[in-house]
Structures are given as structure tokens and as C-alpha cells.
Symmetry: C2
């Protein structure tokens, strides 16, 4: 529960079954900070929201089942029509409503169906409606993703984050939807940098399939008045924690994933080098299928590293998997195959690649690549 | 059959079963031109061959089952030991023998086993041994890949190419093993450029899984003397044809692939833009799984294009699939879902993405991503 915010979820029929429409309404205007996809093709909600989010807002309407991307000008007009209807019902201005969509690209929102669902959706609004709201943005997610914390300042505040995302996940922006709400009062200018940095170190450090979506959005909603500087440091810490946990929930729930691999590349001459190698390994289908098969096939890891287009001293590479050395000076360290398979048959895997070439490092979380990823995605649209 | 070249294949036991050692012996020294992987980690054979291939050579020993990559200095010494043994048997100098390996990365060659097999291998040498030679380099390939042609000059010459490769296939070099032999006599300087260009337009225009291997090698062997300039144009054409056919064989035999998708990106402002978009679409797991499922999920194609990090005018994009327009001005053209599924249920798919932003274009071949890719790669090593 957050003082002054009500949430709702509703089954409007955009999807064949389940909640697909969510609403957050703010008693008083709130500030919004956002991070959007780096994809050159951007969903209608991003184009729409960018025109109004600089001013305080009163509501956020979200949907799953339809990304409203590649829908041209119609996609944006649809949002305006919906804003016109919703604003009447909840008594705010049209330009105080933000949107976010996720689902199939290229289809227009079923506007009439959606408008018809608004009264029922608004009737569901309640202070403890966050779970329904979180469910309404789920697509291939297997569970709703919610993280809450408290912030200690002059008084105690709440911070609640929700997220969705299981596929089309590759960082360098957001690559999912995530919304963080708090009644902690702070002006956007004081936390813009912290928020952007937290985005880089959380949602930009995960990947499921290397795909960057057209809709990726992270929004942070804060109170507009009565700043409480006493709580700033605690707020920043909790904000980071909430965003980190949400991002890990996404990768753990990655489409078809049976494990999460935490890849750390260290000993790099530059952070950029460490990052490129870590990202290259993280999207390597051969590495990811080997992790699915509990196969300590380190050659694929080295090969992916070598394909990252950064300077590399092959003879210095050291690889450690689940705490056991696999490779030293680029040559295999003998290991017990059966024991290694046992160590790899876990939900969480730690992979360290040490380049022994400097002090910079970078880490990222990825999943294994499994039959179920194919199953989920061979016919997602239908 | 090529005048002056004998081929052999042999089951040496590097692999549990099947031919795994191949040999080509040239009656007279031949020139070698080569293209190697762009991976920063290079197999031992590449490091070894580079030191001697500028001079005419007399033999090529190839093996599957072991990549001899990430084996450090030992991997190179192993080759020298083997060259010493083989040179004695076939009566050439040590530094006239080239090597090429494919298989698991990180394991040393079983040198003794290999040396023990050399007499038997050499006994198998014969003019029409190309099929055994081609089989000896197969890993996950389901069939040997051989293409032959004739070249008309002052007389008629032969050109025979072989290749292997089914996974770890992503161009920008070779990304497999391929050897082209000909008795057409031409000096390396006259065809170096043609060969490199043909490499770019054939083996660098295919991908299976976006993985660039440590071992990728293309070699062209030509006669050293009595140049026949009459046949040059025909030779260049046939060389291109042989390389193109071999590269298409590789992608058609892509690990687990059920279809080949020919992606053409046109109407780009620069060729580089078209190339980056085509390559990005070609490695998109979501696009590739959709093709497996016969799902005309064009949103994934547009999303991948938007993620290629090149300037793009979203509103102009046009997509044509199997000759049917799917998207115009970035918005869906209504199509019959069932008919489209039927059209997609083919072995060869034509996908055209027109950016309507210029005149440059680029094309590439990729595969769908299927259960069998996972099956093959979840336990390749074991």
C-alpha cells in the first residue's frame, strides 16, 4: 500500500484470458521519471508519454496482449481517444494520463473493447490492488513481479515496484515494463541521475535472448511536494534494491529458462572491453544451450569472448565455473566431469572470466537456452 | 577427380565413430590462398598454417572431433610432430604440410592415435577419394558437402570444393572449413582479390546461430605453373559458383534447421546500414523461432531491424514475405493468416525488408531456430 495511490487490474478481453488492463491512479499529481528502449522503432505509448511526462501526472494505464507498436499515427490517436474516456471517469485531464503496453507488435489496440472495460477497471481501484495491476501486464511471465521496501526519512515511506518481462529481454534499455511507485517526496532533478544509474546497473545487466523490444519502459513515480532530504540516501539505496530485485526476477523467469548464469568478466584493460565480452557470452546460443545441458563446454565461452571484437590476450584467459577453475592461461585445467555436471545442475550459476589484462570488470545475468524457449516463441502470436 | 591430387579419409578414433582424418596430397607443389576466422582466439592450425602457406605446399591434413583450439603452445607442437611423421611417409618436407581441424575446443589432439593412423590413411589415397575426404571433416553435418565444376581455358580443368559446418556458423569469416582444389593454373596474385571477394559474398553471407568459431578456414589450392589466362574469367565464375553452393549447403544443413530464410534488406541509404539490419534480423532468436512456427510475426522482424543501431525511418518500412506484402509504411497490410502459414511452410523462404530510404542493399541466408538446435547443442561435447 502506498499512501495516495490506488491500483486495479481487469480482464478486458485484449487477451483471450486473464487480466490484461491495469490502472494506477494518484490522488495528487506525481512526478514521473522514465527510461525507454534504445530500439529505433518505438511503441505508440513511448511517443505519446514523452510529450506529457515532463509535467506531473495523475494516472497510468497499462495493458498486455498488444504492444501498440508499428501502428503508425493511428496507434497514438487510439491512446488519445482512450485518455479522453478515462479522464472523464476518474476526473483528471487528458494530458495527465500515461500509458504503457506490451504484447504482440503490429496490431492496433482494440479501442472499443478497452473503453468498454474502463468503468469496470475503475470500479476495481483500491489501495491494495498492486497484485492485480502487476498481473495485468504479464505476457509469458509465469508469476507477477512485485518488490516492496520502506524508506526511512522524517517519517516512514513506502516504495513498491512491479515488472513484467520474460522474453525479448536484452538490456541497454529496460527491455520490459517496470513501474516503481513511492510516496517518498523528492524532486525529479535530485534523483534523475541516481535513477538512470540504477537502470544501467539493474535492468541493463540482464538478458534472456538478446532481443531489445520496441516497448521497453521503466517509470518511477514520486510525490511532488514537501521534499524530505533526511531520507534521500535510504531512498536511493532502496530504489536500487527494488530495481535490482525486479530485474533478477525477470531473468529468473526468462522464457523457458531453467537456470540463471551470472557472468563476471574481470581483469580487463577497460570496462568497455569487459562489458562487450560479458554481453557477447551472455547472448551466445552455444554457451546457453551448454548450460542447459550442464555441459562445462568452456571452449564455447572462450570462442564467444574471442568474437566480442575487443583486444584479447588468448594466452592469459582464466575461467572459473561454480568456484572451480576450468581454464588457466587459456588451457584446460583437468576437472572431474561428473562433479562439474553436478555443480552445474543448479538454478544459479557463477561464471567468472578473468582476462588477466587489467583491473576493469563487468557483470551480467543471462539464462540458459532450452526447448521451452522454442516452444513459447514458435507460436507466440497465435 | 583432379589431375595430380589424391584424397583419403580414415577412421582414426579421434571421434567415437566415423571418418575423422582426411588427407589431400599434391603430386606437385600447389599455391594456397586462405581466409581465416575473425575470432580473436584462433585454433592451432591457423597459427601454424600462417607461417608456411606463403610458399607452395604438398599436402593438407584435416581432422574432425577435435578443434585443437585453446591448446596453447602444445597444440602447435602437436602439429609439428604430426607433420614430421607424415612428411616421412609421403616424401615431402615438414613445412609443406597444412592442417585444419574442427570439433571440440580446448582438447589436445590425440597425437599418438593420429600418428598411428597415418600409414592407413596414406594407403587410402586415391584420385577419386574426395567423398571420404569430405566425410572426414563432418561434425554435426548430416551429409558431406561437395561441389564440382569444370573450367574452360586452353584446355578443360576441374574445380572441386568441399565444406563442413552446421553450427557455430556466422560469417565475417568463413565460419567453417572449406577447401577448394583445382588444376587450373593461375598465380595467387591474380586471384587473391577475386577469392577474397567471393568469400565475402558467399561464406560471409550465411549464418546459423551467430557464433563465429575459432577454426573457420577457407583454402583455395591452385597449380603453380603454366598460367592459362584464357580461362581466367570462366575460372572466376566457377570459383564463385562452387563457393556459393558450398555456403548454401552449410546453411541448409544448419543444426536443427527445417528451413532457410533468404533475407534481403534494400532501399538503404548505405550498404553498411543494409548489412547491419540484415545481420541483426538473421541472428534474432525471436524471428528464427517464428519462422520455425510458420508464424508471420513481422513485429519481431521490425523490432530486430530497429535494434541494429543504424538510422531508420520507421514510417517507411515495407516487408514482403514469400512475395506477399506484410507491412507498408510500417503498418500491417491485412493478409490471410492461413494462406500465409501455408506459404511459410516451405524449405526456402524469401524475406524482403525495404527501408525506402536509399538504393543500397544486402542479403544473407539464415535458418530457423528449432528444438533440434537445442538438442544437438545441449550435450555436444559428451
Amino acid at each position: 500500500m502506498i499512501d495516495g495511490i490506488m491500483f486495479a487490474g481487469y480482464a478486458s478481453g485484449i487477451k483471450a484470458a486473464g487480466l490484461d488492463l491495469g490502472l494506477a491512479v494518484f490522488k495528487e499529481p506525481m512526478n514521473c521519471l522514465s527510461l525507454y528502449t534504445r530500439n529505433k522503432i518505438k511503441a505508440a505509448h513511448i511517443i505519446h508519454d514523452k510529450t506529457i511526462e515532463a509535467n506531473p501526472v495523475r494516472a497510468l494505464l497499462v495493458n498486455s496482449g498488444c504492444a501498440n507498436a508499428c501502428t503508425g499515427k493511428d496507434g497514438i490517436s487510439d491512446l488519445k481517444v482512450i485518455a479522453g474516456e478515462l479522464s472523464n471517469i476518474i476526473g483528471v485531464n487528458d494530458n495527465e494520463i500515461l500509458f504503457a503496453s506490451t504484447g504482440v507488435i503490429g496490431k492496433r489496440l482494440p479501442t472499443n473493447k478497452l473503453i468498454g472495460a474502463l468503468p469496470g477497471l475503475c470500479k476495481n481501484l483500491k489501495g491494495n490492488g498492486i497484485e492485480s495491476f502487476a498481473q495485468s501486464i504479464m505476457t509469458t511471465d509465469t508469476y507477477p513481479k512485485i518488490v516492496s521496501e520502506t524508506v526511512k526519512g522524517k517519517k516512514t515511506y513506502s516504495i513498491i515496484g512491479v515488472a513484467k518481462g520474460a522474453g525479448m529481454i536484452n538490456p541497454l534499455f529496460a527491455t520490459m515494463l517496470s513501474f516503481v511507485f513511492t510516496d517518498y517526496p523528492v524532486s525529479p532533478s535530485k534523483i534523475r541521475h541516481t535513477f538512470a544509474k540504477a537502470g544501467k546497473e539493474t535492468f541493463e545487466r540482464i538478458t534472456v535472448d538478446g532481443e531489445c523490444s520496441t516497448n521497453d519502459t521503466i517509470m518511477l513515480f514520486t510525490k511532488t511536494s514537501d521534499e524530505d532530504m533526511v531520507g534521500l540516501i535510504d531512498f536511493e539505496e532502496k530504489l536500487y534494491y527494488v530495481m535490482k530485485e525486479l530485474s533478477l526476477m525477470i531473468v529468473r523467469d526468462g522464457e523457458g529458462a531453467t537456470r540463471v548464469i551470472h557472468i563476471t568478466v574481470m581483469g580487463a584493460k577497460k570496462k568497455e572491453y569487459a562489458e562487450r565480452i560479458a554481453r557477447r557470452i551472455a547472448i551466445s546460443p552455444l554457451t546457453k544451450t551448454a548450460f542447459f545441458g550442464c555441459d562445462p563446454n568452456w571452449g564455447r565461452i572462450v570462442s564467444a569472448a574471442g568474437d566480442a571484437d575487443v583486444p584479447l590476450q588468448p594466452s592469459k584467459i582464466e575461467i572459473t565455473l561454480q568456484g572451480r577453475p576450468l581454464v588457466k592461461s587459456s588451457v584446460e585445467v583437468p576437472f572431474d566431469e561428473q562433479e562439474m555436471k553436478r555443480l552445474m545442475n543448479k538454478k544459479e550459476i557463477e561464471l567468472i572470466v578473468d582476462l588477466h589484462d587489467g583491473r576493469a570488470s563487468f557483470d551480467i545475468y543471462t539464462t540458459d537456452l532450452t526447448y521451452d524457449y522454442i516452444k513459447i516463441n514458435a507460436s507466440y502470436r497465435s
